[in-house]
């Protein structure tokens, strides 16, 4: 057997098993969703649905819904950017702090800092909802202790949205911290030693050694983090109790969930899902072009 054929077989066995599982579990539901999005499936037509074309898509953009599609879209973008910004900044910062050789008790710090990730989201969301309670919640009580006025966290739109963001920031930074810690381990120490000999400053080393070398690991995590946050139903749904007050705290995905599972508008929900999917697709393509993540660094 010649060299290149052997290599081809090796590659085939490396890559195929993972791809088969993905194709089977994702492609079929995807095609099915495309069909539903073109149909009139809802509570009245649950078995006898038929294809109606792009009517559902038109409805998303033109039907005056309460709340408005464009408002929810902007909220979703704000939700994603604010969350991701704090996840990455806090996560990378803590990883850098933890990675210093002078720090003692690293194991304990790491374990405690990863707790927000370890607790099931369902519990996290309900606990924070309790903490945001106006009369009983510990957040208002702590605010009171330091002389600040209590905030109506869950009953006004902006504050309820902020409450959901705070919960999600708390929940998400350990993940980025763990990824960054892993990435930092791949940087050879001699690079820093060489930089020290050259008299490079702390900031200079961060810019020219640390950040470029953790980039190949961080960029996929950030891309996926953006997509997950954009599509994160659990936190916004549970903290705001299904969009309270009066459906003003929705992001796109919780709005879809409400349309599909509370109002049984399956066709409309599927069409909106397709739109969410295309928004994320465009984002990822642009982001990956810019960061060139599919190419190797060495």
């Amino acid at each position: 057997m010649n060299q290149s054929l052997r290599q081809k077989i090796f590659i085939f066995f490396l890559v195929t098993p993972a791809l088969i599982i993905l194709l089977g579990v994702v492609v079929y539901p995807f095609v099915y969703n495309v069909i539903i999005s073109l149909s009139n499936m809802n509570l009245r037509h649950i078995k006898d649905w038929e294809i109606v074309g792009f009517r559902n898509y038109a409805k998303v953009f033109t039907e005056p819904s309460q709340p408005d599609f464009y408002v929810i879209f902007i909220k979703t973008v704000i939700w994603t950017i604010v969350n991701l910004f704090f996840h990455v900044v806090i996560g990378v910062f803590l990883a850098l702090v933890l990675n210093q050789k002078e720090i003692r008790g690293k194991g304990i710090f790491r374990t405690i800092l990863v707790l927000p990730w370890a607790v099931p989201q369902l519990i996290v969301a309900l606990t924070w909802r309790g903490m945001f309670n106006y009369e009983y919640g510990s957040i208002n009580q702590i605010l009171g202790k330091v002389g600040l006025p209590a905030v109506e966290w869950l009953r006004s739109p902006t504050e309820a949205f902020a409450a959901a963001i705070i919960t999600n920031v708390w929940l998400g930074f350990p993940f980025m911290m763990v990824i960054a810690l892993g990435a930092l381990q791949s940087i050879p120490h001699d690079l820093y030693e060489a930089a020290d000999i050259d008299g490079a400053s702390w900031y200079h080393k961060l810019r020219t050694i640390t950040l470029p070398l953790i980039k190949p690991v961080m960029v996929p995590a950030i891309t996926l983090g953006t997509i997950w946050t954009f599509n994160n139903l659990n936190i916004i749904w549970l903290v705001s109790n299904a969009g309270e007050p009066s459906d003003s705290t929705h992001i796109l995905v919780s709005f879809v969930y409400k349309a599909a599972f509370n109002f049984y508008r399956y066709g409309y929900g599927a069409a909106l899902s397709m739109i969410i999917f295309f928004i994320l697709l465009i984002f990822s393509v642009v982001f990956m072009r810019k960061t060139k993540v599919t190419e190797a660094v060495y």
Binding site: A118, Q121, V178
Partner: protein
Amino acid sequence: MTKSHTKKLIRVTFSYVVLIIFCIISIYPVSQVLTVSLRPADRLLSTSLEIIPDNATIANYINLFVKTDFLLWMWNSLLITSSVTLTGVILAATAGYGFSRYKFVGKKAAMQSMLVTQMFPATMLLLPMYIMLVNLGLINSYLGIMIMYSATALPFCVWQMKGFYDTIPSSLEEAGRIDGCSQFQTFYLIVLPLAAPALVITALFSFMSSWTEYVVAAQILQDTAMWTLPIGLKSFESNMSTEWGLYGAASMLVTVPVVVLFLVLSKYLVSGLTLGSVKG
């Protein structure tokens, strides 16, 4: 004391202050759950800021084992989660390597389509997924849920492994090949040990994504004997009133295995194995 010493002292002190502040932020909400689990009556809310409440009791923990199927749920969850983790680590370690080291037709398309699978709102995959599993006879089966979980965790794991392999210089493998290793041997004996931190992240991620998952599990595992922990926990609130005490106690116990796993794995996360393996 020299100037650089003072600078170092300030930096280290600042680091500890930062770490302690973030530790408090991380622990506080968890301590709230602990408080709820130790409260005698089924109350979620109280104006007290104490962590250990007055007349604290472990009755909720005892009830959890005596009155509910908590141990069964724990066992089911462990079985499913460990299989998913093992599958995830093996498939991602191999696929990631293929994507990192070799050029082949459709590589870019395959990488990108894996990312695409993450973009679809999960709630809308539920209905078609359910129909598909019914047709395959995989409802109420561990195999069904293991496949679903592996598929959800894989894209991130493969990308993550690929990113990490990219940072390992390929000169190491060339050296191995010259010394007479086969392709598989260079992968298994040289590259894989160096990728330990990434393998740990893959394992943790696979574990976490199935350990606390509720929505898919609730669709597939309808037989109460097959319930996992999140479904069991949710059942405490399905009655007229939520049993907050049981809920809190169960939440604390659900978190324990994750913390243990992290303690065990984290020494590999920072093993720094690349140290000294590349000269120059």
